[in-house]
């Protein structure tokens, strides 16, 4: 910690933005978490119709400023669904914590009722004949899809052009699931989903001050989701708090026979094990050499978080990252572009203008098409060794905690971030980010920390994140809009 960073924890916490004034009833409803709204809906203390009206009204008022949505569902249909939920709940047919909850999905998820564009002119007229499994699961659980969220062309990139960060609308919300993160941060929906190939759930969640979870590879079906790279892509929740992440994950996780990479491991009841605490757990952290590459306030927020973990009874100790960690990012990037090139292979034979006049993606996937197949295979071999080393590292620890990273939301950038992020895509191990403070410079922007754990132990990850969240108040802060 440098002298500039030696603020007391109290001073650090005082850097919060002043709290909002008394919210209107609509704002109060829109600001509810899924867990809070679910409890009130189940108790019939809140009408799904009123909740939906509050959300639709807020979208109408604020989305022109935020630009989170690519397309919106018919408001009458949303209200009809809310009325159905009200009737079902009233008749004692409550489906669970997502029943009557307004949600959004990234515009890579196939939907029958709305186009699926992935923000490419090539898919401008694409109207899928079926819903992505994630969409079907959300709707089956009673959630109501209010719209599809913005992303960069084909999900390529760390920013989301056209969407504004709710904490500073002159800035980008991060990407590629920036529309989902901005929508959740701005209370335009109660929860959303995104996709994560290199960090595209976690980066915008960090930038927008919300929770983002990339589950274990295979935990959530990717059927009906426009891919970048099928061995690196993951779908997961973006939420206002950790408990909501647990609820959303429970809603979308599970084996899907239509997804060949879907895992059959049983889905745990994540909310049931959320409050067990982390006393006696071991939190691993990267070496000082790795941490030295972090931005100072990001590192400070991380060190404050470690203090919280210790106060909660965990042991924090340095752990050696896999020895081939430096090659991991190279493997991730090579596998990503080679697989993307395979997906785009037939599209590339079309006239170049079909990708649109400003496409930055086409040239990248053309380059990916010219890579030797042997290079791709060797990257997968190295990846196999990396995964073995990840297992070995996690034999000594319960959670790996890392600083969050600066994103496109911050012009300063953070060069080592993609490695800390992409290592979880390359390995398939789960990881999530939670809010952990704010930048010291103006404008005040959210910071966060990342946690990862062993595969299919999302319950462990969520419990650690929940313990941290409950010991802090960062998640309670809202951008002023």
């Amino acid at each position: 910690v440098t002298s500039e960073q030696r603020l007391s924890r109290r001073d650090f916490i005082r850097r919060w933005i002043p709290p909002l004034g008394q919210p209107s009833v609509d704002e109060e409803m829109a600001s509810l978490t899924i867990a809070e709204a679910g409890r009130r809906l189940a108790a019939r203390d809140l009408s799904p119709v009123d909740l939906m009206q509050a959300i639709l009204s807020r979208i109408q008022r604020l989305d022109p400023k935020i630009g989170a949505f690519v397309s919106l569902a018919d408001p009458e249909r949303c209200l009809d669904r809310a009325r159905e939920a009200e009737i079902e709940i009233g008749e004692g047919r409550y489906r669970g914590k997502l029943h009557g909850i307004p949600v959004a999905v990234k515009d890579t998820h196939y939907t029958r009722l709305l186009p699926t564009t992935a923000r490419s002119p090539l898919l401008a007229a694409f109207n899928p004949s079926f819903d992505a499994t994630v969409v079907a699961k959300l709707e089956g659980a009673g959630a109501i899809l209010v719209g599809k969220t913005n992303l960069p062309e084909w999900s390529f990139g760390g920013g989301t052009p056209g969407t504004h960060n709710p904490w500073d609308i002159t800035r980008d919300p991060g990407g590629s699931s920036g529309g989902s993160a901005a929508a959740v941060a701005a209370d335009l929906v109660l929860g959303a989903t995104g996709g994560d190939t290199s960090g595209s759930i976690r980066s915008p969640a960090l930038a927008c001050g919300v929770v983002g979870l990339k589950p274990t590879f295979g935990r959530v079906s990717r059927r009906g989701v426009v891919p970048i790279s099928w061995t690196l892509d993951h779908v997961g929740p973006i939420s206002k708090c950790v408990e909501d992440a647990a609820v959303l994950l429970a809603g979308i996780a599970g084996h899907d026979p239509h997804d060949p990479n879907s895992a059959s491991n049983p889905v745990q009841v994540y909310t049931a094990r959320l409050r067990r605490g982390i006393r006696g757990w071991t939190i691993g952290i990267p070496s000082e050499a790795v941490l030295a590459t972090c931005a100072s306030d990001t590192l400070y927020a991380f060190q404050q978080a470690l203090t919280v973990f210790r106060e909660l009874g965990a042991t924090v100790r340095e752990v050696a990252l896999p020895t081939i960690f430096p090659a991991a990012q190279a493997c991730q990037r090579l596998i990503r572009i080679a697989e993307a090139a395979a997906y785009h292979r037939l599209h590339l034979r079309l006239p170049p203008e079909r990708y649109g006049p400003t496409s930055a993606v086409r040239r990248q996937v053309v380059a990916g098409s010219l890579l030797p197949a042997a290079a791709y295979q060797r990257a997968q071999l190295v990846r196999g060794v990396f995964i073995q080393q990840m297992w070995q590292m996690f034999a000594e620890i319960d959670i790996l905690a890392t600083p969050g990273w600066r994103t496109a939301a911050d012009a300063q950038g953070f060069p080592s971030a993609p490695v800390l992020s992409a290592m979880f895509n390359l390995s398939g191990f789960p990881a999530m980010v939670v809010p952990a403070g704010f930048t010291q410079d103006e404008p005040t922007l959210p910071l966060g920390i990342q946690m990862g754990c062993r595969p299919f132990e999302e319950d462990v990850l969520l419990a650690a994140a929940f313990a941290y969240e409950q010991a802090t108040e960062w998640h309670g802060r809202k951008p002023v809009l």
């Binding site: 889905v267 009841v269 990037r333 053309v366 030797p372 000594e396 390995s427």
Partner: protein, 98 residues
């Protein structure tokens, strides 16, 4: 294509736009104005990654086979450390959904 030395200290890689044009033509990929130059620069960057990966000392025969990837937890005998140091219990059967 000039890959100037593969190993621990890979040299810069360059590739000509003409080579890109010819390779794309072989694959039936049409190029627009300026594409060959832009793709050549991007490809050189990717080939640098290839050199980085080639620099990893790896016994290819001993490397684990590509199994996608962790769709199932590995067999415990292959990873005896996995279950040895859990400081938390796994979910009891009544808390597991099918």
């Amino acid at each position: 294509v000039n890959i100037g030395g593969v190993g621990r200290d890979p040299a810069p890689i360059s590739i000509s736009p003409r080579a890109v044009s010819e390779l794309c033509a072989l694959q039936g990929i049409p190029l627009g104005e300026g594409d060959a130059e832009a793709v050549a620069a991007i490809l050189a960057e990717y080939l640098q990654l290839v050199a980085t990966i080639d620099a990893v000392e790896l016994d290819a025969e001993a490397a684990p086979p590509l199994q996608l990837m962790i769709a199932q937890r590995p067999e415990v005998p292959s990873y005896p450390h996995v279950t040895s140091s859990l400081t938390h219990s796994t979910a009891p059967p009544d808390q597991v959904q099918s």
